[in-house]
């Protein structure tokens, strides 16, 4: 009888599989569906030298940058919506400690999409005429070309294939087939572009329990999945829990205050606990 792989691992194993210096694509959006539990675990593991790609960066990336895990960020934007900016990211850019590579949202999503599909390169009109263009052209990440069909000016972008991706999903089966509810922003191509796709799931079920028509990320593409209920806190997960506004406000206040205050937040909520459950208890206190 044919068999299904079992891809369930602990969050610690999931994070431990990511070597220093890896290129990791993250898939949260501002204050929603961030893989916060995963970011905590990487910080506790002392992972460093990461290159992070996240189209619309949010709290997970700000945490990792604050935790000293990230040398380079590729993004199209970053914020915590109305709660504030990504202070660790912006500070890292201002001090030169963090290298920033910046695209338009569509351009970066298309690079991931081209990576997923194995396209030789992808084309767009976005970014033409903008100041986003010059540094990307200088870095060899964009070429200004003309369509071979009508001669129209356009941009060519190479495929992007991060080493890892991490997506916070609603339900996964044990083989890694995963359902994401609500808007998907760049989740599908982020998971598909990476060489190793990792998931953190609110719920895990047996193979056969999911409606295959509802699967957002096929297990065929997934390498491992960890079970972490409420693993997105304090960001929102659609249909499951709201963002924790009070926690987000206190995070932004600390982060905006300066490096020391931001680090004190990490000492208390990340390095001061050994599991995400401990963090959740502390955050609820």
């Amino acid at each position: 009888m044919s068999t299904r792989p079992d891809r369930v691992v602990s969050l610690r194993e999931l994070a431990a599989g990511i070597p220093d210096g890896s290129h990791v694509a993250l898939a949260g959006f501002a204050i929603t569906r961030n893989a916060v539990a995963f970011a905590h675990e990487l910080i506790r593991a002392g992972t460093s030298g990461l290159s992070v790609t996240q189209v619309f960066s949010g709290m997970e990336t700000d945490l990792l940058v604050a935790g000293g895990a990230v040398d380079r960020l590729t993004y199209a934007s970053g914020s915590l919506d109305r709660f504030g900016l990504l202070h660790a990211v912006n500070r890292g850019v201002a001090t030169g400690r963090l290298e920033l590579i910046e695209y338009s949202g569509l351009a970066l999503a298309l690079r991931l999409h081209a990576g997923a599909l194995g396209l030789p390169f992808v084309t767009t009109r976005s970014m033409l005429g903008s100041d986003l263009l010059a540094p990307l052209v200088a870095a060899g990440q964009v070429e200004q070309i003309e369509s071979p069909f009508d001669g129209a000016p356009c941009l060519a972008l190479p495929p992007l294939r991060p080493d890892f991706s991490v997506v916070h999903v609603d339900v996964a089966d044990r083989a890694g087939n995963a359902v994401v509810d609500g808007p998907l922003w760049s989740i599908p191509e982020t998971a598909r572009a990476s060489r190793v796709a990792l998931l953190v799931a609110e719920e895990i079920v047996d193979v056969g329990e999911l409606d295959p028509s509802r699967v957002t990320i096929p297990g065929s593409l997934v390498h491992a999945v960890a079970h972490v209920p409420r693993g997105g806190h304090p960001t929102a997960v659609y249909g499951r829990y709201d963002y924790d506004a009070a926690h987000l406000r206190s995070y932004v206040a600390a982060a905006g205050e300066g490096v020391e205050e931001h680090d004190a937040y990490l000492d208390r909520f990340v390095r001061g606990v050994s599991t995400f459950d401990e963090y959740l208890a502390l955050a609820a206190a």
Partner: protein, 255 residues
């Protein structure tokens, strides 16, 4: 700040911004004041306007205030969820978006704008970056910018040109390879600036504002129509009631 004490500057801005939305527009809407303007339009003169959020949300009809486009409250009533590739790609880049309604840190006389960083006392401060803003302004039929009015937000040379307007460095959109007409209006809490391929015009000033004072605080080349700018229609009681009771009862955006 408002020149008329019957409403706040934010309320006036939301109302004036909403008037830029045509009934039937397919509009991609940015975080904050653009959200307010779009939702107000949808509930008043433009019931058939369809909103899209770059996060992958089609035609939401939210009924409570939200902390931004990543707040699930903003997605309520949506008829479909999808991806950024569908909203910025299929809809905007594919030529199906008639209007982009966006905020800006800084804008020039051709409606190009900056959402990336500002320079204060020689120090650059980074904000959000482009997100989908560049894609929307590069590909939508027309763009409306909605922002509070400060002199430092108007500049002939932007600190960072995140999103192209009607022309860049003397090159037209068509010459750059961009579709659409580009920015057609900049709406602030003091005035409405109209843009066409000849430049920017002070189309109207809000009730209580003096044109000369507005011009003095708008340091970009700005034409004034013969006879001076019009007065922007004042907010109606119905518009104000909707803003205060439903759209932004906490005054997060319009307070």
């Amino acid at each position: 700040m408002s020149a008329d004490e019957r409403w706040t500057g934010g309320e006036m801005l939301a109302v004036a911004g909403s008037l830029q939305v045509h009934d039937g527009d397919v509009a991609v809407v940015g975080l904050g004041l653009p959200q307010m303007a779009a939702l107000l339009a949808q509930r008043t003169h433009a019931p058939a306007a369809r909103l899209l959020l770059e996060i992958g949300v089609f035609e939401p009809m939210p009924t409570e205030p939200s902390a931004g486009i990543a707040d699930p409250r903003m997605w309520r009533g949506a008829t479909a969820f999808g991806t950024t590739l569908e909203v910025l790609g299929v809809m905007a880049h594919g030529g199906r978006v008639s209007l982009g309604l966006l905020g800006a840190l800084q804008v020039d006389q051709w409606g190009s704008f900056n959402t990336t960083e500002v320079e204060t006392d020689g120090r650059r401060r980074r904000f959000r970056g482009s997100g989908g803003g560049n894609d929307i302004s590069s590909n939508a039929g027309r763009i409306v910018i909605v922002m509070t009015h400060q002199a430092r937000k108007f500049a002939e040379t932007l600190t960072f040109l995140t999103s192209p307007g009607r022309q860049v460095g003397g090159r037209s959109r068509a010459d750059l390879g961009l579709p659409g007409e580009g920015t057609c209006a900049v709406v602030t809490d003091r005035c409405v600036i109209a843009l066409d391929d000849h430049g920017a015009t002070l189309e109207s000033v809000h009730p209580g504002e003096h044109p000369d004072a507005v011009l003095a605080d708008t340091p970009i080349p700005l034409a004034v129509p013969d006879g001076g700018p019009k007065e922007t229609p004042a907010p109606t009681a119905a518009q104000l009631a909707f803003i205060r009771n439903e759209l932004d009862p906490n005054g997060w955006y319009t307070g």
